[in-house]
Amino acid sequence: MDNILSVLIFFPAIAGLLGFVVDKKSARAYGITVAAIEFLLSLWLWFSFDTGNAGMQFVEMIPLIPDFGVNYYLGVDGISLFIILMTTLMTLIGMVSMSIEKDVKNMIITLLFLEMTMVGVFVALDAIVFYLFWELSLVPMLYIVGAWGGPLRVYAAIKFFLYTFMGSLVMLVGMLFVAYVYHSLTGVWSFAITDWYALVLPVNYQLWLFAAFFLGFAIKVPMFPFHTWLPYAHGQAPTIGSVILAAVLLKMGTYGFVRFSLPMFPDASVMMITPIAVLSIIMIIYTAMVAYAQKDMKQVIAYSSVSHMGIIMIGIFAMNSEGIGGSVFQMLSHGIVSGALFMLVGIIYDRRHTKLMSEFGGLAAVMPKYAVIFGIMLMASVGLPLTIGFVGEFLVLLGFYEISPVMTILAGTSIILGAVYMLSVFKKSFFGPVTKEENKNLKDLTAKETWSLVPLVAIVIWLGVYPKPVLDPINKSVNAMLVFMEEKAITAEAKDIIKVPQSATTVGEVK
């Protein structure tokens, strides 16, 4: 299958279109089947992925607007491969666990379209194609929040849409400007990211462009102080919306930093380490505190997402293989763990129609299986070794220590503050006596719920104990990126700070 990437993008979309003719009662089964096939296809992508190759693979290129160098240009490397896998997996699991009764068919079709846009973002190598999928992904999410959400759903949906849309428009201007510069330097138009990588830009250009891209990505991540759309979106979105939002949509922002900002503007990135690290540290500490103050269980997880995204951000700007590789790994880890946590909150919400922790207490005795899985995800979330959460967080902090010990200590408070708010959630909800009459006869996990959570538990432990199959390809592509960032950097400062691992340079010499 040479055009596996196109298949991955358009299979869910075409299946979604066909979904309109599927009978309402079988819509759910149909959706799960499509998502399962899509997941298997992405697994096939992984198995045929050449882990020894750090560059782009499965490349496809079809000219779209040849005069302006806009091409339908796709490819994956070690960095995007696993994010794609996570996307297809979380879509599948989200669908399996979905408890929505209203308009199931519309929801399934929306999710399939959303899947197309998400996969599209992570495989696009042409800026225009990337931008198209990036913006298109807003529409299904707007619809999910706006149509299936809570009482404030319209406000939340519009806020989410306009806020992120505004950021991306600035990014679009940045993209057009890069293309313009490319044209004025080389005489040809190109929107191919790989062409842009070769472009050596003067530092002041880099700074302006960095800022333009930053706005688009930072709102998506969301970085402090652009994060306030997120709690509303999570607060109003149905469980499935929150799962996809936390697991995949936020990763688009951090992925953008790795795919665009670092390799295209290495000098500006190095200059921006301190401001970004400061914002990230505020994000980590401040939102961890806000999370602790929440009374609603879902809001705790929502704010904790912001806090964890801070760890990812700081790792990206560590400018070494440990930090960036750790960040990419942490994206996967956060996707799995926060997705699972949102699903878990959804499960209790389905039973009690409330998410307030004061309504619970003593659930461990009533719902032991639920408590065990919640406990495992909690431990992964606070970064316990041998769970998926540790590997990324450890590497990020280790990597950033080379940049600044003091800031690493501040960012490292995440392991303390994370434990504070998560354990407090667990104590309030699961420990103590069962005080509320309604909680005394709650049903433990049903088979459907169990089977959508168990695979995630398995992944959490598998990648915590043996992260190598994932970490190695990531590491390889990150090393390659660092090598050319270092070569390309103009300023001495950037050359000094961007650190190519010794293992990567020696391999280069042997070749």
Binding site: K159, F224, T228, G325, A364, P385, V391, L395, G432
Partner: protein, 632 residues
Amino acid sequence: MEGLVYIALFAPFASSLFAALFGMSERKIFVGVVASVLLAISFVASAMLAFYVYGTGHAVHVTMMDWINAGDLRIPFGFVVDQVSVTMMTVVTLVSTIVHIYSIGYMDHDKSFNRFFSYLSAFVFSMMVLVMSDNFAGLFIGWEGVGVCSWLLVGFWYHKPDVSREENPSISPSWAANEAFIMNRIADLGMLIGLFILYWNVGSLQYDEVFAAVPFLDGTVLNAAALALFIGAMGKSAQFPLHTWLTDAMEGPTPVSALIHAATMVTAGVFLVIRANPLFSLTPEVSYFIAALGTFVAFFAASMALVNRDLKRIIAFSTLSQLGYMFAAAGLGAYWIALFHLAAHAFFKALLFLGAGNVMHAMHDELDIFKMGGLKKVMKWTYLYMGIASLALAGIPFFAGFFSKDAIIETAWNEGTIVLWAILVVTAGMTAFYSFRQVFLTFEGDERYKQYGIHPHEMYRYVLIAMSPLAVLAVVAGFGMEGFEHFVTKLLPDYHMSEHTHHIAWILGLVVLVFAVGGIALAYKKYYHGLKRDEKLENSWYYKLLANQYYIPVLYEEFISKPYAMISDAMWNKVDMKIVDATVDGIAKFLYKTGDETRKMQTGNLSNYLNWMAVGAVLFLVVAAISAAAIG
């Protein structure tokens, strides 16, 4: 030999998984039996490895597989069985096996019996990973693993509600569990920083590579690394100011206290310092700080034990105090003596706790020693065990504690740190006093429990038999001191007393003995014949200060927990909602309003439009003129 390493390591893991299979079903005795047998297998494998290492002098080193590879970082799952780790392995598995068997009896009425064994074995597995790993990251796996198991086990009776601090100083099991986990996490950050420092200066986290490289590192780097690692050690070993969790952890079932909060997990910090001795030997300032803090904690904890009425908390304070002794020895460079005290202490302290468990079992979970008394009539064996353990703890010749603790006190003299020596000697007297205050108040004198309608009974026979190896070791372990020194100093730096100290060793020993016997005599005088309450003393400010643990838990609550909650709340309600989000909405509203207002220009009236056109034209002209001037 490799096979034995894996058996020793994974038998507890198998046990945990096996028990977990029945975790949600009702109590099944065979789960406890199977778990105990698997633990015994692990002990036998450890003992065989100990013989092997003893006989050949070689360490066994195995690498199972890669764990994390990123950049230049290579972390394998590697395990090393050398003199130090094999000592720890043997002690840990021996005490664990006994505690497992003990728990079959102790937990026999608990409906979560199976779950208990799953957690307990998981703890042993984590502890084995901690002591056997051949690198700092592997140690950290075990380090966090024991933390989680401790969280699970302290909070084992999670259904109990929170109560006020006056009613129960630990508030509730789940509260105590969270406190323990969070406080350990604070220290773990220090530990992680230590790892980062070592990695960026050495390029590896493997013990052998790090220790080979430390002599070539800069002094400040070494100091920073040693201090950061020691901060990690302070959390697990509950050193001041991170000590409050340990006494609160007594909310867990008593076998847990015996295993985790006395014999094994809390010694992890001491183990770390011993393991990283090549680093700490090069940082005399940090080492001296460790010794000084250890000595302070020894005294500080003993002082709180003097007045406490809670059977388990007294023993917990004594654990804290003895950990202080171990750190004092390690900080002064006598690593092998610290390790020896660690092992000896594990035996008699586990025995003491299990004895306390017997008393609790008999007294229907009553812990107040003021409500006991005269229990010797019904609990002869427990009295004997606790008596032996207390004699060992007090350092009476020729029990185990006599050899190990005396050696530490002698080291303090030998190093010329007379102040530390004096404090440690006084603490030895206090130790003897509070130990026997507890023993006498529990077992001798009038039978106060009768007022409370309790009918105590002795523990099951098989439990008492299971405890006997600990009792034997508490008596005889000291005689193995020379052999132990010979064994472990193949790896650890040897430590000898100077000629001068050697000459006056008997005088030094006598001084300690006088204090110890004096402490026991005082306890005998005051408490042997029953409890005579001294209202005046109990109402004095210093008594209250000690009884309230110097008010430290209250201070932490008032100055850390509550402000943190308050600030968090303000961050959410004031900053996040009122400033950050309000600004965003403000901008959006402004744009919306502007649009709404300018919409009114569209009146449909031609003359209005012409007016606006004129305004626009003038504006354009002005802009054009200004830019022309700017460019020109």
